[in-house]
């Protein structure tokens, strides 16, 4: 074994401890580094929730260790083999969880309304101040993200650009199976369901690059279904919109039918459409509701590598 190997092994052996320390320094722990209004509220409640529970759990753990030690056989503890009931203790052991759960429930309900994806309480006052929210329609295919900006009549694939400080309203649907939309540092998960429309709301507070995922299992391309989310100033956003509107591709209902064919985004090819047929989102929801499917060929799941080569060839031939 090489020296590096040995060092690596030692590191790995002590790892949980190191990782915990590392965890405290918060590097890359997206859920603990919120950078959007909604995710910050979530994080606030997360702290409360965990704090209150630790207040109960840690003493309980200590109590049990103490009891085991104090009353170990041969130890100094008194021995009362028949002692099995005490109204006082019963009251305490029911009372403590009862009160804790009461408090947590109260907080939980409050938090649910605060971060309600459809109408988050946390954004209520900002919404009024920030003026018109940005609308984004999200259509998930197997296995790509199409972000449509209906107000701007543009669309972007696997790349989401958002202005800072503006509430964003998403409408989401899927062409095939259930997906789950999340940008950990900005907003939590919402299911993306074929034949239905769900909503999500967020507001970014800083410019930056974030990762977004699909979280629910959707088949062979799932692992590659992450999308880059870029937050920019309002001015930059306007520039980006202008630039995109000049792009040549056109997303029509017919083009969409081709686009929605299964495609694994291993190459993460970003794509933009300078024009989008209006009502595309509703068209897709309606099509799926009336039974349209874009089936996954068996070959695609069962022998993905072969399929990838074919896909590559098709891309060259301009089939997508």
């Amino acid at each position: 074994m090489s020296k590096r190997g040995i060092k690596g092994a030692i590191k790995a052996l002590c790892a949980p401890l190191l990782l915990m320390l590392n965890g405290c320094s918060k590097s890359g722990l997206y859920l603990l580094e919120p950078e959007g209004t909604i995710s910050r509220v979530t994080h606030h409640y997360f702290n409360l929730d965990v704090g209150i529970m630790l207040l109960i759990i840690i003493p309980t753990a200590l109590l049990s260790v103490w009891a085991m030690w104090r009353y170990r056989k041969g130890g100094g503890g008194s021995y009362r083999p028949d002692w099995s009931h005490s109204w006082f203790i019963e009251a305490v052991v029911w009372g403590i969880p009862l009160i804790t759960v009461g408090v947590l429930s109260y907080l939980s309900v409050k938090a649910i309304y605060k971060v309600n994806p459809y109408n988050p309480g946390a954004l209520a006052h900002q919404e009024a101040a920030a003026g018109k929210p940005l609308e984004v329609d999200v259509i998930v295919t197997d296995w790509r993200w199409l972000f449509i900006y209906p107000g701007q009549r543009i669309a972007s694939v696997n790349h989401l650009v958002l202005p800072v400080g503006v509430p964003v309203h998403f409408r989401l649907t899927s062409t095939s199976v259930v997906n789950d939309f999340i940008i950990p540092q900005l907003v939590g998960m919402i299911d993306v369901i074929p034949g239905m429309r769900t909503k999500q709301t967020l507001e970014a507070s800083k410019t930056g690059h974030y990762v977004g995922f699909s979280a629910d299992y959707s088949g062979a391309g799932l692992s590659w279904m992450n999308f880059e989310t870029q937050t920019v100033t309002k001015a930059k956003f306007a520039q980006w919109v202008k630039k995109t509107q000049a792009a040549p591709h056109n997303m029509t209902d017919a083009a969409f039918n081709l686009f929605a064919k299964p495609y694994i985004s291993i190459d993460h090819r970003p794509m933009v459409f300078g024009h989008v047929q209006s009502g595309l989102f509703d068209y897709v929801v309606h099509e799926v509701m009336s039974g349209k499917v874009w089936p996954t060929p068996t070959a695609m799941t069962e022998n993905m590598v072969k399929y990838m080569n074919k896909q590559q060839a098709n891309v060259k031939a301009g089939d997508y």
Binding site: D82, W83, S84, H85
Partner: protein, 213 residues
Amino acid sequence: MSSTTDTRIQPGSTVLWDKGDAAGHDILGTRTFGFWLYMLTDAMVYAAFFAAFGVLAHNAGLNSKSVLAAVFNAQGAYRETIALFASVLAYGYAMVALKKGSRSGVAVGTVVALVLGLVFLGMVSGDMERLFGQGIVPQSNGFLSIVFTLIIYHALHIIVGAIWMLVMLAQMGRDGFTSNVVYRLINLRIFWHFQAVIWVFIFVFVYLQGKVI
């Protein structure tokens, strides 16, 4: 001694062991109790089906008025109801005869119940044939899927019940009223009545309510 435990020992008079064969416990009671538990699982199956019906009924509107009218033929269902209820009644008479220990009484009641059950089945399958003939099939949409599934699942129970009746007739003929035969007859009654009860639910929630959707 353990604080919450009760009895103090009374030397000499405390019975520690039960002499005698305790395996001779209440066989009938145990068997019927178990069957009740089984019926409960079947009830849960139906409950889940009805829940699915409740959900999918929201999409009933995918069907045209005429299709719905063809499916929810309440008069036909009413005739089916009468047949099934009469069958249950006949089986009830068989049970009265069982109390009296009359083999022929049980046999006659069972045969009548069996025949009426088959009549019910015939009517249901006729109904299905008529609908399939018109192209109204479970594959049409979610709402029809659940409607057909409920009705067919119930009909499967009636088939099982019919086979069971035949088996009981044979066993009664061979063994008379042994405890095995008796508990099976009693369980069959539970089973048969239960199918009637379920049919009431189907009639009310599917046929009658289907009419108003």
